[in-house]
């Protein structure tokens, strides 16, 4: 791989051991993937926080050891300087306020707080959400980013037209200290054209339907680049957030185009550029039904736990849940956790949404989610969620049965304690 003189100097340790370790990882990674060079980035979103029991034994050696091992893949413990470029913490393991409900012990909460203080001093912005684009990190078209979090990456590439591959904990750790990431994949304009044409033969409108479409598209195209045609209803941020999260869960989709709607293509011709669609795939009633059934992994209708807010909820989603719960009580045997970024939780509180949700006996969680934290209320056997992504992952992670449905189905189940969604 070709390095600039500045990059070679960093690799040689001129700017300290941490940047040398970071460059070493970037070179190993860049050569593995087959990149010819690195590209500058000033927008890194990664996972830096120490918040899980498994990290504890590394924390005992200090937070420099955590960063060295887990964010740089370095055997040597290097002293971590201030981040070189704008850097954001994505979702983390513990809600700093609701940790007791999560079943986290106090020493772990203290560990996360100490970790945040360490990272904060070094310039890691603690947005603590899987949706940085909802709380102030909105890259512009063409901006080179180094982001983790598959649902954020697909949003960043497709809706915003910025450029990132799905990065990992180690590559974002190295990018934050060097402002560099391999120039490969979605950083190159020629790799950003569509490959598969998805003819959407039915009207897709509400959030659940966008989730089902995303789950179908991911399964069909795997890590290819779908182009959606014949979209009847103009989507919004919430719907594309769900669509992308689902497509990145059932497959490895990192970029899609919806001509006239997403940033980089006004027409089908622009979406495919010099290429032709390698395949045309139809999405109709039959396919929608198959996806709906596929996302159900439960048989028992008695529901113990409802998870809303994956990816983290927007303010309008919080408003809708507050409205559905106003004046109601959730079932005494059922827990309802609603997840939203901390910054949005503050707005929800100001609006009275938080009060309405909490008055019904539900909990508003920030900073984390059950799949990331692996923390659910005790004794949960059956869950329900409005997220195709969570329905895909949580049953395997937590060894529970899962129902998938609309937000209304989920709130209704929280109130009655029974899944009444269509089976």
């Amino acid at each position: 791989m070709q390095l600039t003189d500045f990059e070679k100097a960093m690799l040689d340790g001129v700017n300290g051991r941490a940047k040398a370790a970071a460059m070493d990882l970037l070179v190993r990674y860049g050569e593995a993937v087959g990149a010819e060079r690195l590209v500058e980035t000033n927008n890194v979103a990664g996972a830096f926080n120490a918040s899980t029991p498994s990290v504890k034994r590394i924390v005992d050696k200090g937070f420099d050891a955590v960063y060295s091992e887990l964010n740089l893949d370095s055997d040597e413990i290097v002293e971590i300087p201030h981040m070189a470029v704008n850097t954001w913490q994505l979702i983390t393991g513990i809600d700093n306020d609701n940790w007791a409900l999560q079943g986290a012990d106090e020493s772990l909460v203290q560990m996360q707080r100490d970790s945040e203080a360490y990272l904060g001093e070094r310039g890691v912005n603690m947005c603590a959400t899987c949706t940085p684009y909802q709380v102030g990190n909105v890259p512009i078209k063409g901006e080179h980013c180094a982001w983790m979090e598959s649902s954020a990456v697909i949003y960043c590439n497709s809706v915003l037209g910025a450029r990132t591959n799905v990065e990992g904990k180690e590559s974002t750790g190295a990018a934050a200290l060097t402002g560099r990431i391999p120039y490969w994949g979605y950083h190159l304009p020629e790799n950003r054209f569509g490959t598969h044409l998805i003819e959407v033969d039915i009207a897709v409108d509400d959030m659940m339907d966008w989730g089902l479409l995303g789950y179908f598209v991911g399964e069909q195209v795997e890590e290819n680049k779908p182009v959606l045609n014949n979209i009847a209803h103009h989507p919004n941020m919430v719907k594309l957030k769900h669509f992308g999260a689902a497509a990145a869960s059932s497959g490895g989709v990192e970029l899609y185009h919806i001509p006239g709607i997403t940033t980089e293509a006004n027409t089908l011709a622009e979406a495919f550029g010099p290429h032709k669609a390698v395949k045309t795939i139809h999405y109709g009633h039959k396919e929608r039904e198959a996806m709906y059934m596929k996302l159900q992994s439960a048989t028992d209708r008695k529901v113990d736990f409802i998870m809303l807010g994956c990816p983290h909820n927007s303010i309008e989603q919080m408003a809708l849940i507050a409205e559905l719960l106003r004046g109601k009580r959730i079932h005494p045997d059922t827990a309802l956790w609603v997840h939203t970024p901390r910054a949005i939780k503050q707005v929800a509180e100001r609006n009275g949404y938080l009060r309405a949700i909490e008055a019904a006996g539900a909990v508003v969680m920030s900073d984390t989610c059950p799949a990331i934290s692996r923390r659910l209320p005790k004794g949960v056997r059956v869950i329900a969620t409005d997220s195709a992504k969570q329905a895909h992952y949580l049953p395997a992670i937590a060894n529970v049965q899962g129902w998938f449905g609309s937000v209304t189905d989920c709130v209704r189940a929280a109130i009655s304690g029974q899944w009444q969604g269509r089976v």
Partner: protein, 151 residues
């Protein structure tokens, strides 16, 4: 070399060349799947097993195996989870894959096991679970002995 006179089925070794992703040499038993694997949410990083509900390898251990699979899918936690399998001593012995992605490349790098891709012949045509595979990523080739570990 094995003594052919006591082995009625002469062992046949197939050699396939490919591109080195992570250098190193190791031999072991193959574990083969034609399905991509999720890291975060798809494996248990403490036990080295596949946990994805609908995966054909669900419940099976990849620890110490020569893992042949198409590549990585799912969450960006892929590298971090395979990184943890190394720290926990339950990583695969080698990774052979056919579809390059950033998740796959970074995951192989931080798992620090020999890894190869871009094979001159389709490895799925020649390697089955249980075959004995020598991965020589330093030389850019894999040697497959059908059946089991040669004597």
């Amino acid at each position: 070399m094995s003594d052919q006179s006591v082995n009625p089925q002469p062992t046949r070794t197939i050699v396939i060349k490919g591109r080195t992703v992570v250098k190193g040499k190791v031999s072991g038993e193959a574990l083969v799947t034609r399905e991509t694997i999720s890291g975060w949410g798809g494996i248990n990083e403490r036990e080295g097993t596949v946990i994805e509900r609908r995966h054909e390898l669900v419940g099976q251990s990849f620890a110490g195996k020569i893992l042949l699979f198409p590549g990585a899918k799912g969450s960006s936690g892929w590298s971090a989870f395979f990184h943890m399998t190394r720290l926990n001593g339950v990583s695969p012995a080698a990774m052979l894959f056919t579809r390059m992605t950033t998740k796959m490349a970074l995951g192989a790098v931080v798992t620090r096991v020999p890894a190869m891709t871009d094979f001159e012949r389709d490895p799925f045509e020649h390697i089955q679970t249980g075959d004995w595979v020598e991965v020589d990523a330093d030389a850019g080739e894999i040697r497959i002995t059908k059946g089991e570990k040669p004597a």
